[in-house]
């Protein structure tokens, strides 16, 4: 199994509060991704990183920001959480450049915004 951990694994927070989710990898892979999973939508990309300090937006980036100051860590921040951001968040990593970038997923973080 790819060495990917996510923290926290579960979080309950209130609307308007800031939240930061952490993804940590031990594989030294270049690419890291944040997805959210919602019923009826499968997984959708929020943001991704193609190197330290290099990030770009995905399909559903509004309301989210990311940072990557080290190869092994990719942080997802909800500046002011809303109920629509209640979801399961998955981090993924991949090693190679396009197009041969098989992605491996972390265990997920279940976030509930009340």
């Amino acid at each position: 199994d790819a060495g990917i951990t996510q923290s926290p694994r579960h979080k309950v927070t209130e609307t308007g509060t800031p939240v930061t989710l952490r993804c940590h990898q031990t594989e030294n892979h270049r690419y890291m991704y944040w997805y959210r999973q919602d019923p009826g939508h499968g997984l959708r990309l929020i943001h991704y990183s193609y190197g330290v300090k290099d990030t770009d937006k995905g399909e559903v980036s509004d309301g989210y920001s990311v940072s990557r100051s080290k190869t092994e860590d990719f942080l997802l921040t909800l500046e002011s959480a809303t109920s629509s951001q209640t979801s399961v968040y998955f981090c993924a990593i991949s090693e190679r450049t396009d197009p041969y970038n098989e992605q491996f997923f972390g265990p997920g973080t279940r976030l509930t915004v009340l």
């Binding site: 990309l45 396009d98 197009p99 098989e102 992605q103 997920g108």
Partner: protein, 111 residues
């Protein structure tokens, strides 16, 4: 954007039965993966298969990229095969880096 359709959406099998899951996509792709999401929510890589055929134990997959579909075969199903099976693709053109997921096939294997 690219459309990824999986069929059937739900499948109930008796243990020991065989099944075929299908993934159709609307554009040329250079990356296709099959995942199994187990009842605990973990996403497990099954195949990285942008073209051709691969086999791993009771599972095999075939992607016909020119006809824009992929098939996942499960033989002699077991209760531990239950869960959701996702197909995910990345288009060949442009700079898009994301995997686009289908909505999944919910498989239930009964003892």
């Amino acid at each position: 954007g690219i459309q990824v359709e999986q069929s059937p959406p739900d499948l109930i099998l008796q243990e020991g039965a065989n099944s075929t899951l299908r993934c159709n996509f609307s554009d040329s792709v250079n990356n296709l993966q099959w995942f199994h999401q187990n009842p605990w929510g973990q996403l497990i890589n099954l195949f990285y298969i942008p073209s051709g055929t691969k086999q791993n134990g009771r599972l095999s997959a075939t992607t016909v990229a020119t006809e824009r579909y992929s098939l996942l075969y499960i033989s002699s199903s077991q209760t531990t095969d239950s869960g959701v099976y996702f197909c995910a693709v990345k288009i060949s053109s442009g700079s898009a880096r994301q995997l686009t997921f289908g909505s999944g096939t919910q498989l239930t294997v009964l003892p």
